[in-house]
Symmetry: C2
Subunit: 219 residues, 2 copies
Amino acid sequence: MSEPSDARTRFLRLHDALRTRICLLDYPPGSRLSEEALAAEFGTSRTPLRRVLAKLEDEGLVVSQHGVGTIVTDVDPGEMARTYDLRRELAGLVGRLSPVPITDQIVADAAGFLKRGEALLTRPDTRSLARLNMEYFHFGTSLTRNEALREMSERLYYRTARIWLTATARLDLADETAIFVSELRDSLQALKARDGQAAADVRRTHISLCIARVNVLRD
Amino acid sequence: MSEPSDARTRFLRLHDALRTRICLLDYPPGSRLSEEALAAEFGTSRTPLRRVLAKLEDEGLVVSQHGVGTIVTDVDPGEMARTYDLRRELAGLVGRLSPVPITDQIVADAAGFLKRGEALLTRPDTRSLARLNMEYFHFGTSLTRNEALREMSERLYYRTARIWLTATARLDLADETAIFVSELRDSLQALKARDGQAAADVRRTHISLCIARVNVLRD
DNA sequence: AATCTTTATGTTGTGCACAACCTTGATGCG
DNA sequence: CGCATCAAGGTTGTGCACAACATAAAGATT
């Protein structure tokens, strides 16, 4: 029961694994993913794996070229800026479109994220920060019942996650951790007040600030 | 040069063809699509066709069940309502996020759509109306340079297109045609004034009205 | 008659072999 | 030496055969 292991489940697992590797820069932009090697690693054949790569290509994380290889995409700064613009707007919509009522459980979850964030303050680590950010993002989208909004937000998140991560490497890790923790703090405050729109606005604001920080790197 | 016919192009052609058939109700909800039959029709094998079906499944237009078949989805009214909510918001964003400057060519295109719409007034036809609506939608999304916004809007459009079409069949075709033409008229006015935001608001408003008209059918 | 079992049939999922294609390096020629 | 040509190796794309699975009908059993 803990492992249904039907075709769909295996597909989702594979997809999630590769997507995480790409977004955590285990496979940096420009890397070539070998279908055969990956198939061997995951104990399957090329056929199911190709379906996963096709989805990743549809999501804009890789491109496959006949006779060349499947290459992890590098991101165009201009397009990324526009994608961030949209992410910012969608973050605000989470508070307005079919928001879920804020329960004690949700507040507790937010408190849990804050605790994990604060633990990172004393021992900053890029990878842990990225993972926490990823989990916290999913928590944020879970605050709307609008499935389409959740889906689009996640699609865009995974497309921009790497940018923030590479930028963090060039900015100051301790600073970025502190900023993220303050977002968690603001978010928890809003949720404690049972104000979902305020929580969404917190996220919206921090995306705006994140855009600004990343943009200065381009100058 | 007019037909590159490499793998990617064939894939896109197949995908577009099947998506159009589904959204024009050539394949009504509940239909079973045979991989073998479709492969034969398009002169290919199951392998490339399965990739197309996988994308359609990712887009929510079909579901594949092992041992059963690939079935055209029927849409849950509640989820559709929420999807429409999001579409409405995205339509407004087209006017704000990276809008393209309104050129004479754009105004001329809008005038062309209006002309085609008016031609439908004298001889209403569901299928022609649906096709025109589809083309006009793509015209609408082309008014932003934000690729992600275009992509998400289209994704959601194709997920809801069938709802509007089935609703039109139960509403009055002549009425719906008239309403659509009035939207084209309002849109043309806004574009003539070189006001892209106003044009986006026209679309936004009409989506709202469309939601209201479809909703009365549920009572 | 009702119900369980079995079997036949059709469907999607998987693995593998080969085709199509690109890149790279060697080789020959000017 | 420069450059074109070609051959070799590796990669993704395609076709096909078979496995895994679900369904429905036929048959056996109670």
